[in-house]
Symmetry: C2
């Protein structure tokens, strides 16, 4: 018997006969009209005395100032006026009716990218200037304000421009160097179908989100080069030809040959390209690239393919030579650096490093040469990211979750003393913007009962007032009670968070069909103390139809520390299932849950979990829907899979025990598998192999495919997907 | 109101509480233990005084003689004795426990192919001799008894051997000619991935079943060479690699570039290969290859790509030169020669030609030079094939259907007088074997009430007795009444045949869910007066579960003459649907049919029909199951599609009106599409495109795929298929 903590219950203020959310509205309006009010492009101006955001006036966008700290408002600029100014220099460009995403260039001008070129708007003279231009088909655009250079890719090539003429770019690529337009020499040399330059590598693991890294003053550009010639190809169907053709992608599969990455630095002063000597073995992960403040050194967190050792290496940016390893981290299971080193503001001799080495993500202060000065924080909570230093560099702001993972707050730590201050008090998920001087905080938060509040306060804890107090956007829809709570994991120690949504017009004497929505994999958390408990609107729509919807974050999920996460090592699926079954046990203890009508639905890792639960514990769930599921980890990508599972050669039992192909024959309930035909994350192969196994084993199973869709069914077709899922549960679970 | 002819009703002699056929038994035993008794390898010996067949003794196969005409039996040879004799010459070969398929070489010896080599067994001395050997991976084996040569293919190459050593074969291919082993010179020259030699061409249309044609004495070999370099490729998924790879096939698509065929003749006396000069345009169909008796000339029925003109051309086999066009057939819709010219026995100056030119398949007698001597038959019935001449060549035997297509009989026509004799009298589907001397007839037949009878009679109509009078193999299963009948087509004139199966324990006061099983396309007929009315056992299994199962052969189907068939020209689907809806109207008039619970199921063309009916008349059927359906004729192959539809360029309206993509949005009922992922006949593309359209249109649809399966789901997985279909109707139609 688990002890149950109920901490918050939300009753949506609906009417008794209020309407139900349609699937269309739930899917299409969840982030627009049915989401709590937000302020677009909310930020501090460089003077720290003004807040700016994009509001509306007569239905059209306007830039609004809010004076700090009295919170008086001024409407500053209409989007049509910004466009008119833009039009005067770029009459041939397409018109915009919404503010492009911008940043403050200085206190009187903003800078923004529109159709791949960068523009400056000066509020003083109301004039637009073209800063730098890129070709229209440019991708992966990375603008450096200091040098006014823009790096971008076209196909597999990397380009850089620093002027306003785009026509000379390709000429340069052919003819060689030319003032004002630059391109790394190497790139054309290595230009081939299986090479890529200037893009993120290692399939976006290790916190990698991009492939170009400007040095602090913009005189150098570090970038990735990826060589995939040795990686197995996989054919994705192309539906735009007749008959359908194929597009081959490179897909490095667990245990197989991996791709090879390199890092190069282009020096714009010496006009020279140098390869960073990251050395052998070539199958390694070059992660978390960072520059020294003086632009002389490059830091790379080099992780071995086995992912049990990370070396923080320092390289000479001029010669590319390896200088030294500042420090090494090892872990018998895995290491996973996700944040680059961060130099202390106004002190280029010290940097901080975020690491889970003591079991939780904490900051460590290092001397530039690699000497550990001290552990800066020692929280038993998960620090998710730094938010930056204050004006002097004395304090570092950061976001961290509460120990139970349910709430997220802004903290700061004083570098000198290690003293930690929590800047938000109200429970909930806070996202904070700190002014450049480190004094004011814009605190945007929600919790189960609060759609959204945006409050201006400061580091002293003073509250100046509220910018937004959002109303419940679902007030006109039928009431569905949402409860957040905890149950004990079968380990007897660990609390697991759950979210439970009761049907509309709930009657505790009735028994309801109940659907467990599950993800369960690393890097994700489904339940937090945020608006609706982080539930998606489709869950409310289903609940309004008479389903109980339940979700539990099992061990292996995010924001609870390393031990909570890495217990799943070498046996992805095992502990996750145990915890989900504890959730089922809890559900069966609720009188209103119909234990004979339990369903389960999940996507990706959640599809793996769903299929696992349907076949490894075949008597528990009557109906399952598994989207884009991993069926066999040996068919999944190297970086993710080998971290958690080691290689199939090293861990044959783990791969076999959690290979769902082996359990297909056990299926008793109704199982619908769903896959996007062009899934380049979890290959279509997984479910096709599984269907084949079901046919071999004489097992009846249902299948839906979404042609052209990738790992998720997005856009308007997502409505179709959820209607399909809804219909399936209605047909077989109700 | 249609006039209804009920001609035969069958009541299976089941018990009231007899068991139902399981899906397993219905699928797996329909051609074995649940099929009426048959006699394996039944034939006359060359002396015409003995019938031989393979029977069983103590569970093992034996060769049995039946003396003609007294029908006394002798057991002649045990399979183990045949094998022992075989073993003495081929000890290294795998053992056989069943008689290989054989033919009588002379009255004392049989000849058979086993693992690609040809053996003779002599009954006099009980010895086995190796006649000629081919390599173990040989395919498309074609043995010529006169020359003792065997032609076969390996990969895209054609080989010929005339001795017992297989090791020299490939040496020859490299080194050149060598006594005893021959290979056509040209073949190695044209050996490439997109070339094929010695195999059937034109996707087995026009009656083409093979690619090698021995001359009457075996001195020459005509063969096809196919060039597919110019044809679009299509990728089929290969599931035997990790990840799944692709195998490209050449698929010539309606309106697109087609492949090109050539015919060559290898002369074994002159050791020379010659190309037959079939000329331009290269996109034409070289069909129905035949030899003159003296081996000097080759005849080819050349059909233009438009398929509205056939020229029966005569070529010099020595030089390859075109000699002349014997005659030409044209038709505004299409011509479709399917049988080569047949020289009259003992008269090499005359041949017969089977043609639908007057509206029904009839024989025409030609002088060797191309002069039409006379129309030999003038039946308003469909002649399906000739069975051969009698000893002197005075009479030609042939099989023909009754005018209504329900029965099939053996006939003969006297060449001189044109007098026609019908040799079987009892209604039913007869398959007859005529002795070489043209006197005795082994008449094997069934009809709705007769599982199988095999009777010996003669051309004078004398009956000698019965070899088999098969018992009802379904006697232990629940009774399901099968009715054959006719309704009028909406044209008001044409009778359409149907088969109606009533549920077990039929109660005329009840209303039953009713499933229409449909094929509906050319070249096929679903309903005949044969055992069970040609119903498959799965239909009985479904009927035993409480379904009415109905099938109707609409206009466009086989064995009813040209006008019945070609009314569908340029609009495949239109008249077929009209007739099927007449069937539905008839069903709705039956009190026991639940008009609100109509289902429809079909495969291939029947899948096209099912999808058409579900979406073009969306209020008629509640549930449909469409397997391997053609969705868009422009995605189907050239030879078949252009015959019936012309090209998409010539007939854009016809293609558009019958393109089911355009009707996806109308679907109201439940529709399950099924496809083999490796379907090389109706490409997977069809249903994937359709599913995509359904998603685009917001239409919910169900899907099942059978990985690795081609156009049909065969083998043990067919049980899975029918369980799936059964479940679908149970879920949504019952």
């Amino acid at each position: 018997m688990k002890k149950i903590f109920l901490f918050i219950a939300l009753l949506l203020n609906g009417f008794l006969f209020a309407q139900n959310l349609t699937i269309e509205d739930a899917i299409l309006k969840g982030r627009t009209t049915l989401a709590p009010q937000r302020l677009s492009q909310l930020m501090f101006k460089p003077d720290n005395k003004t807040i700016s955001y994009i509001g509306k006036l007569n239905g059209k966008e306007v830039l609004i100032y809010i004076n700090v700290p009295d919170l008086t408002k001024d409407t500053i600029l209409k989007v049509e006026d910004l466009y008119l100014s833009f039009y005067s220099v770029m009459p041939e460009e397409t018109k915009f009716e919404r503010f492009p995403f911008f940043t403050w260039f200085d206190n009187n001008s903003i800078i923004y990218t529109y159709n791949n070129s960068v523009y400056l708007y000066d509020f003083t003279n109301k004039k637009t200037t073209i800063k730098v231009r890129a070709s229209g088909n440019a991708e992966n655009i990375d603008y450096d304000k200091n040098s006014n250079r823009i790096a971008y890719t076209i196909g597999s090539q990397l380009f850089v421009s620093d002027n306003t003429s785009i026509n000379t770019l390709l000429d340069y690529a052919k003819k060689g160097k030319k003032d004002g337009v630059v391109q790394s020499d190497l790139i054309t040399n290595d230009n081939g179908a299986d090479f890529d330059n200037g893009k993120g590598v290692h399939r976006s693991e290790f916190g990698i989100t991009k492939g170009t890294f400007w040095s602090p003053k913009g005189n150098k550009l570090a970038y990735y080069m990826l060589n995939e010639t040795m990686v197995t190809s996989y054919g994705l169907m192309k539906f735009d030809t007749k008959p359908s053709g194929l597009e081959n992608i490179k897909y490095p599969m667990a245990g197989a040959k991996s791709h090879e990455a390199k890092v190069f630095v282009y020096d714009f002063i010496k006009k020279r390209n140098v390869e960073i000597e990251t050395g052998e073995p070539k199958e390694q992960y070059l992660t978390n690239i960072a520059w020294s403040i003086d632009e002389e050194f490059l830091y790379i967190a080099v992780v071995n393919r086995g992912q049990n050792e990370m070396k923080l290496n320092m390289y000479d940016a001029l010669s590319g030579k390896f200088i030294k390893t500042l420090f090494t981290e090892t872990n018998a299971k895995y290491v996973e650096p996700e944040k680059p080193i961060l130099f202390v503001k106004n002190n280029d001799k010290q940097f901080v490093w975020l690491s889970e080495r003591n079991g939780f993500n904490n900051f460590y202060l290092y001397e530039r040469g690699g000497k550990l000065l001290k552990q800066l924080t020692n929280l038993k909570q998960h620090i998710s990211e730094s938010v930056g230093f204050d004006a002097t560099g004395a304090n570092l702001f950061f976001n961290a979750f509460s120990a139970d993972g349910m709430n997220k707050y802004l903290y700061s730590v004083e570098i000198k003393s290690g003293k930690i201050t929590q800047h938000n008090k109200l429970e909930g998920i806070h996202a904070s913007i700190v002014s450049d001087d480190g004094f004011y905080i814009l605190d945007s938060y929600s919790n189960l009962n609060t759609p959204r509040q945006i409050i201006l306060n400061d580091v002293k804890g003073r509250i100046y007032g509220s910018l937004v107090n959002a109303v419940n956007p679902l007030v006109n829809f039928a009431t569905t009670e949402i409860t957040l709570g905890k149950i004990k994991s079968p380990d007897g120690v660990t609390d697991l968070n759950y979210r439970l949504i009761k049907p509309a017009n709930f009657d505790s004497t009735k028994k309801y069909p109940t659907i467990v929505y599950v993800y369960g994999g690393p890097h994700a958390q489904m339940v937090t103390n945020s608006w609706l408990g982080a539930a998606d609107l489709w869950m409310l729509s289903f609940a309004q139809q008479g389903y109980v919807i339940f979700t539990l974050d099992n061990r292996g999920s995010l924001n609870r520390g390393l031990n909570f996460e890495n217990i799943t090592h070498r046996q992805l699926g095992k502990y996750e299932m145990e915890d989900q079954l504890a959730g089922v046990k809890f559900l069966k203890q609720q009188n209103y849950v119909d234990s004979n009508k339990l369903g389960v639905y999940g996507w990706s890792f959640g599809g793996f979990m769903t299929t696992s639960l349907m076949t490894r514990t075949p008597d528990v769930f009557k109906v399952g829907v598994a989207g884009g599921p991993v069926i066999d980890w040996s068919l999944y990508e190297i970086m993710y899979t080998e971290r958690y599972m080691d290689t199939p050669q090293e861990n044959p039992d783990g791969y076999k025990e959690n290979n769902l192909i082996n359990y297909a024959k056990n299926l008793k309930g109704k199982l619908l598998l769903i896959h996007g035909t062009n899934d380049n994350v979890v290959l279509w192969n997984h479910t096709l192999n599984y269907i084949k196994q079901c046919v071999d084993d004489g097992i009846l199973i249902d299948y839906a495919v979404y042609p052209t869709h990738e790992h998720n069914v997005l856009g308007k077709d997502r409505v179709h997907l959820f209607k399909k899922i809804n219909q399936y549960f209605n047909d077989y679970l109700k």
